[in-house]
Structure formats: C-alpha cells, structure tokens
C-alpha cells in the first residue's frame, strides 16, 4: 500500500536562496510524524508547499500514491490537507462555528448563511474531541488551547486526510498539551496522517514514533525515535554535538533589587523577594500564574497597586518604563515581534533606542559614536552576520534577541529581566543565549529569567521562585531545584493532574 503522504525530491528556490533541496520522505496513514530542524532548516517552507501557499520548483507531492497539484490553499484543502498554524489564523470576533466554516460557509439558496446548520455541524465535529466548547461563542472568548481544538475540529469537518501542525503547543500549559496529545492520537487512530512540527523535543518524543530531521533545506534522515536519544536528535538538527552545559553561580549576597508586597490590578498578589548582584533568579510557574505581569511591574510597563520596589536600598517608583530604565532595569520581552523590535529599523537603531540621550548629548545624534558602541555591543553578544545597518526584521529570532540584549547593555542596565528568553529560538542559538546570560551575571548584572521550560530554569537559575495564582508559592535554592519540585509547587493543590483527569 502506498503511503498516505509522500514528498518526492521537493526543491524550492527563492531569489538567491535554495530553501529546499531534494526533500523526500513519506508519512503513512495513521502515523504521527515529527518534522524537526532549526529555524531556517526549511520546515515552514515544506509546510507551505503542502498547504498550497508555495509551488515547489522541482519534485512532487503524492497523496495515497497519486501526484497532486497543490496550486493554492483551496486546492490543498480539496486534496484533503488541513494546516494548523503556529499563529492561529482565526477571526476572534466571529463565533466558533463561523470560524470553522470561514471561506466556505453553508448557505440557504446560495445567499443566506445557514447559521443554525453551521453551529449544528460544528457541534458534531467538536463533540468527538471537546464537547465543552460552545459553537456559538465568539472565538475570542476561548483559551488558546481550545482554539487549537477548534482548528482540529475544522480539519475533521473538512474530512482531512492529512493534518499538518506547526508548533501547535508553543503557548500551551503541560496539562493542555496532554489534552491536545489525546486529540492528535485520536486523529491518527482514524487514519489521518499527521505531520507534527515542534521545537519541544520531549513532546515530539512523546507522541511521534518516527520523525524526519531537516537541516539547511535538506533531509538529514528519517528516523525511528525509539532508537535514538534526544541528544542524538539535537546533534542531527544542529550538525554538531552540543556540549552538555553545567550551571555556574556568580551570585553575591549584595541586594540589588528588593520587592515588598507588590500587587497589580491584573494578576500579581503580594509578591516579595530580593535579587542579588550577580544572581540569576528563575521564576517558574504555569502560564497565567502572573510571571509576565510581575516582570512588567518591575520594568515599569504596568503600575503596581500596592507594594514597594527598592534599588540598592533606595525606594523607586516607576510610572513608565523610562523610570525603570533610568533606575537600571531593562525588560527583554516574551513576544519579540510585538514588544521587542522595531522591524523596519536597523540593528543599530534598535540597539540605541533605549539610550538615545547618551548618543545625542547636544540634541544631534553622534552617529560615529553610536556605530562604535553598536560594533562593541553586537560583538559582545556575538551577533552574526555583522550587518548593523540591515533592518532587524531580516535577522533570525536568536539574533533579534541578541540585539535586544545589546540594547540594554548599551543603556548601562544593571538589572535584566528576561521573559521566556529562548522562545522561538533555535537549539544552537539557545545555548549561546544561556552563555550570555551567565556571562552577564558573572559581570555583576542581576538577572531574572521567567521560563516555562523547566530544563532552561534548571540550567540557568541560582534560585527559583515558583509562582501560583499571582503569588510566590515557593522559593527553591540551587540544591533543591528539580522539575518535580517546581511542578509540585506550580500546580494548584486543588487541581493536580490526577484530579483534573478524574473530572473529565
């Protein structure tokens, strides 16, 4: 029997770039197939070819042994391909059912939209996977995890034979992932071929049996994951062994920042802690536990409703990020595209944005000096290629992150707040960012790292605060830090995973 989906010698040329070069592999019916690789390896390009956004320069796609022409997204959908995007392509104000029928609504007489019928059919599709979702509810009222489920239900509705998922879990909590994994396994059991792209190797190892590993536009190998370790897979992805990194502590006992009884209007409740010079303080907790909100209070982006912050023992009040920056605090935000970079501006301009006053002491920017500092700081954070006048949007996520770190170094920041420092960053660049954070601490910066990836917290943190429902549930010192300890404190006592599954 021919495989459900087969790529045969797919190549894709862009002006000056060969994005894919002779990619061949196949996915059987009922198989969940992992697609792994660093950013720029060609995974997204391949998925775009599969979903009809791009046409391959050479090669063909076969479905059930027959070559198909995926000329555009509509044709791909008609051929049975459903694509579930990393950034969900939905309309928040429309209802769940309207979103599921977006682009091809059910009509009465070809004129009026048959809303009731749409909602009935949507409910049918949802019943199989998550009956708690109301098809008439506006999509925007659903949580991200539920919105993923809606996308999958839409694929069911289209009777998709192939479902491609691009980083479906990048914003899900562990328990939400468990739920999604059940749904995906269910899809496979019904004979759907699933192509699963994720940066999170533990997830891929959890739900995929086979995986194809890509690097620089070519297939490195299609492998059976039962035979390999995560480390071996990473080595194949980056083309070299990543040295196992050990934690080094540079913490002193000199308090740089102390927070007492901090609360915000949104989530943070009565948070107190001290941050020391040279220390890397990890903040762990579930998504929604108030970690990002706490960082925003410290960075002056939101205002505290109660509590005090002191820097080097002096009380500080922040009414905007400007005040916090003046006090030596800089935030490296989680959503780089939305809160970090000014996409059209150069690396140098993005770097200098927080310290313009320094570069323009008499009102006019000293571009020679700005350039010197940019060369120095970008060299310091090891940004390559070294094209400082190029718009930042043309750089990889890892390089953009380095530029934002360089921004704070240029501003003379002493307290660096990282929110998910390696989200959307390659495995290789991740190790570099870790190194950089450690070096910054060694130089005497005080660092806070908020992360959902427990290995990251364990790798970096001298001390971990675990947040739950906006408060600090536990403080773990270096010797007590473990995934189990963090998870035990992060999950609300009344809602352990066992209790959750019992309810369902």
């Amino acid at each position: 029997m021919s495989p459900r989906l087969q790529f045969q010698g797919i190549s894709k040329l862009f002006p000056a770039v060969r994005a894919l070069d002779g990619v061949s592999f196949s996915v059987g019916a009922g198989e969940i197939h992992g697609l792994l690789g660093e950013n720029g390896a060609g995974k997204s390009t391949l998925l775009r070819i599969l979903s009809g956004v791009y046409r391959p320069t050479a090669g063909s796609v076969l479905i059930d042994g027959k070559p198909v022409t995926l000329a555009n997204p509509v044709a791909a959908r008609a051929a049975g391909v459903a694509m579930i995007h990393q950034e969900l392509q939905q309309v928040p104000r429309l209802s769940v059912a309207q979103n599921m029928f977006l682009g091809h609504p059910l009509t009465r007489g070809g004129i009026f939209v048959a809303r009731r019928e749409q909602e009935r059919r949507a409910a049918e599709a949802l019943a199989a996977i998550d009956p708690s979702i109301d098809p008439a509810a506006p999509l925007g009222t659903l949580k991200v995890a539920q919105r993923q489920i809606v996308e999958i239900a839409r694929a069911l509705l289209d009777r998709a034979r192939i479902v491609a998922m691009d980083e479906p879990t990048s914003s899900l909590t562990p328990s939400e992932f468990e739920r999604l994994a059940q749904v995906i396994t269910g899809l496979a059991r019904d004979g759907v071929a699933v192509v699963y792209v994720s940066h999170k190797l533990d997830e891929v190892f959890g739900i995929c049996r086979r995986a194809t590993i890509m690097r620089d536009g070519v297939v490195v190998d299609s492998v059976d994951l039962n035979d390999l370790s995560e480390k071996a897979v990473v080595a194949m992805m980056v083309g070299r062994e990543l040295a196992q990194e050990h934690h080094n502590s540079h913490a002193t006992n000199k308090v740089t920042l102390s927070a007492r009884g901090l609360s915000s209007a949104t989530k943070v409740r009565n948070v107190s802690f001290d941050l020391h010079r040279g220390e890397v303080l990890g903040i762990a907790g579930l998504v929604g536990s108030g970690r990002t909100e706490l960082l925003r209070l410290l960075a002056g982006a939101d205002r505290a409703t109660a509590g005090t912050i002191a820097i080097d023992g002096k009380a500080a009040r922040f009414s905007s990020p400007r005040d916090a920056i003046a006090a030596g605090i800089g935030l490296v935000p989680e959503e780089r595209k939305r809160e970090g970079i000014v996409p059209l501006r150069s690396i140098s301009s993005n770097m200098a944005l927080a310290s313009m006053g320094v570069f323009a002491p008499r009102g006019v920017i000293d571009h020679a000096r700005l350039k010197r500092v940019a060369v120095d700081k970008m060299g310091r954070v090891n940004l390559r290629p070294f094209l400082l006048d190029r718009p930042i949007r043309l750089f990889s996520g890892g390089n953009q992150q380095k530029a934002i770190i360089g921004r704070w170094l240029a501003a003379g920041t002493r307290i660096l707040l990282f929110d998910e420092p390696t989200r959307g960053i390659d495995v290789g660049a991740k190790a570099e960012i870790y190194h950089l954070i450690e070096e910054l601490a060694a130089e005497g910066h005080a660092v806070i790292v908020v992360s959902s990836e427990l290995p990251e917290v364990i790798r970096l943190a001298d001390r971990v605060l675990v947040m739950r429902d906006g408060s600090i549930a536990a403080e773990l010192h270096r010797d007590d830090i473990s995934e189990q300890a963090i998870a035990a404190h992060a999950i609300p006592q009344t809602q352990t995973p066992a209790a959750q599954s019992a309810r369902q």
Partner: protein, 322 residues
C-alpha cells in the same frame, strides 16, 4: 579591513539617498522630461521657479504630514488649522498689531491646534483619523465663526513684501520651505526625536518597553504639523493680501498624496523628507505642465489620481528591496 575602508566613502554617500527616494527622483525626471518634450517653454527658468513656488505651500504642509504619518497617525485638519491661523493673524494686522507679533500669534494658533490633536490622540487614545476629522470641522467652523464668513482684506504692504520678496533669485517662500525641509531632514535623520518617531510608528509597544516617550513624541509631531500649516497660511495670505476663512480646503489630501508618493507608509514607521519634497514637486510640475497645455482641470484631477495609484503600485511591486 583595508578593503572596506576604501569602499566606505562611496557607501556613505549612497546611504544619504535611499532606493525609494531614487525611485521618486526617477519619477520626477520622467514627468519633467515628458512635459519638457510636449510644452514649449516648460524648462524656462521662470517656469521652473514657478513650479517650485506653486509646490512650496503643499511641500510645507506635506513635511509636517510626513512626520505625523511616520508616527503612525494622520492629520486631516491642516487646511482648517491654516485657515484659523490665517484669519487670526490677518485680523490682528488689520487692527494695527505689528506684524511680527501677528505672525507669532498665527504660529501659536497652529501649535495650539496641533496640541489639541496630539493630546486627544496620545493621552485620550482616540484614533488619529477620527480626531483630526473632528478637528477638521471644528477648526474650520471656528475660522468661519470668527470672521462671520467674510474674508479679512487689506493686509499691510510691509507684511506682503516679506513673503513676496526673493533671495538668491528664488522666491522667499521657496527658500523658507527649503530651509524647513533641511531642518526636517536633520530632525528625522539625526536626532533622538526622529528615531522615536520611526520607533513609535514602527512598533509602539516595543518603543514603550524601550523607554521611548510615546505621548510626547506623538504630540510633538502633531504640533509640528500645526506649526507648518500656520507657516503655509502666512505664505498664502502674504501672496494674496487677504485671508479667507475657507482657505486651505482639501489641502490635507495634497499633503498626504505628496508624502505617500515620497514613500511614507500610512501604517507608520516609514517615510522620507527627501521623498516628500520630490512628491510635492511631482504634483506641482504636473499641474503646471497640464495648465500650460490648456488641459481641462478635470484631467488634472485624473492625472493626480493616477500618479498616486502608480506610485503605490510601484511601491507594492518593489517592496522589500532596499
């Protein structure tokens, strides 16, 4: 390293003019060539000076508009701002107030109009399009109410002489606007305020986290736009010798057109002073040429529309290069 040092002077020179500005310049050259071939006397020094003079008011407004557009906003109220500024300074002059004082009052009106726009946008958080649509009517109404709908006539000859004079063989209005353009270029390219404008329009959230003073930056952009509208008004009433409360009707559209032809993006974060000036001259040259050819004004309108659409299409096709 020595290789890059050798290449640098040329690269520095080329960086002064972007690909997009070069495109606008080519557009201008093509339009000049076409009219030069079709209209006898188009290239006469007198006519070229005429074109600059006719473009100067729109260029003045368009420079302010460019800064506002870069900040992610728009200023639809420039025409009525100019009218309000014009009738107030004109009536002060007619009443015998020394004209430096009357001109200063006109500028103050322009700044105040911009301040209101800026505060409503930056602090109250209303949408720029709606705010300035509202003030477009409001400022126009104030100008009409203040004058009872009548023009203010009989401006003193001394005042008129200022704006009708010439310097280096160019009308003073042209020299003033050229000076404003140089200042605007320096502001956008060489000052923190310029960087802040590009950052606020390019990604407001990121600019906020990086400590950019968002509200101050936006308000300053609207105030500059108001000030330049007031300057345009002084130039116009100096030339006409009278201030009508309905002056400046539809000025905002020409100013937006010049900025857009010059490469400003209405999404914010992108725009060029050089481009805007070239855009204003393109519009001016085209109107001048068509008038000399005795083409009906309907067709001038058509040509303006087509030029804007053509510029946007070229933008679209060449997007992402340079």
């Amino acid at each position: 390293m020595s290789d890059t040092t050798l290449v640098r002077p040329r690269a520095e020179f080329l960086r002064g003019i972007s690909m997009r500005d070069a495109g606008t310049l080519i557009g201008l050259v093509v339009i000049l060539a076409v009219f030069g071939a079709m209209v006898p006397g188009f290239f006469a020094e007198r006519n070229l000076i005429n074109i600059l003079q006719q473009s100067s008011i729109n260029a003045c407004l368009a420079l302010g508009m460019t800064l506002v557009i870069i900040s992610g906003g728009i200023d639809l109220s420039v025409g009525p701002t100019a009218a309000l500024s014009a009738v107030i300074s004109a009536s002060m002059m007619v009443a015998g107030v020394p004209f430096p004082l009357a001109i200063a009052a006109g500028f103050a009106i322009g700044l105040a109009c911009g301040l209101v726009n800026g505060v409503l946008v930056a602090y109250v958080g209303l949408q720029p399009f709606i705010v300035t649509l509202g003030t477009l009517s409001t400022y126009r109404a104030l100008a009409l109410i203040y004058t009872g709908g009548n023009p203010v006539l009989g401006l003193p000859p001394g005042f008129r002489a200022i704006f009708n004079g010439s310097l280096f063989g160019l009308p003073l209005a042209v020299v003033i606007v050229a000076g404003v353009a140089v200042v605007a270029w320096v502001v956008l390219k060489k000052t923190p305020f310029g960087e802040y404008l590009l950052a606020v329009g390019g990604n407001e959230e990121a600019a906020y986290i990086a400590g950019v003073p968002i509200a101050r930056t936006k308000i300053a952009a609207y105030m500059i736009s108001g000030l330049l509208a007031a300057l345009a008004a002084q130039i116009l009433i100096g030339r006409l010798g009278a201030a009508e409360p309905i002056l400046g009707n539809l000025w905002e559209l020409d100013a937006i057109a010049a900025a857009a032809i010059g490469g400003a993006s209405l999404m914010g974060g992108k725009g060029s002073v050089v481009g805007t000036i070239l855009g204003a001259v393109i519009l001016g040259a085209m109107r001048n040429g068509l008038t000399l050819m005795n083409v009906q004004s309907f067709y001038q309108l058509l040509a303006t529309g087509l030029i804007i659409l053509a510029a946007m299409l070229i933008d679209r096709v060449t997007r992402g290069r340079g």
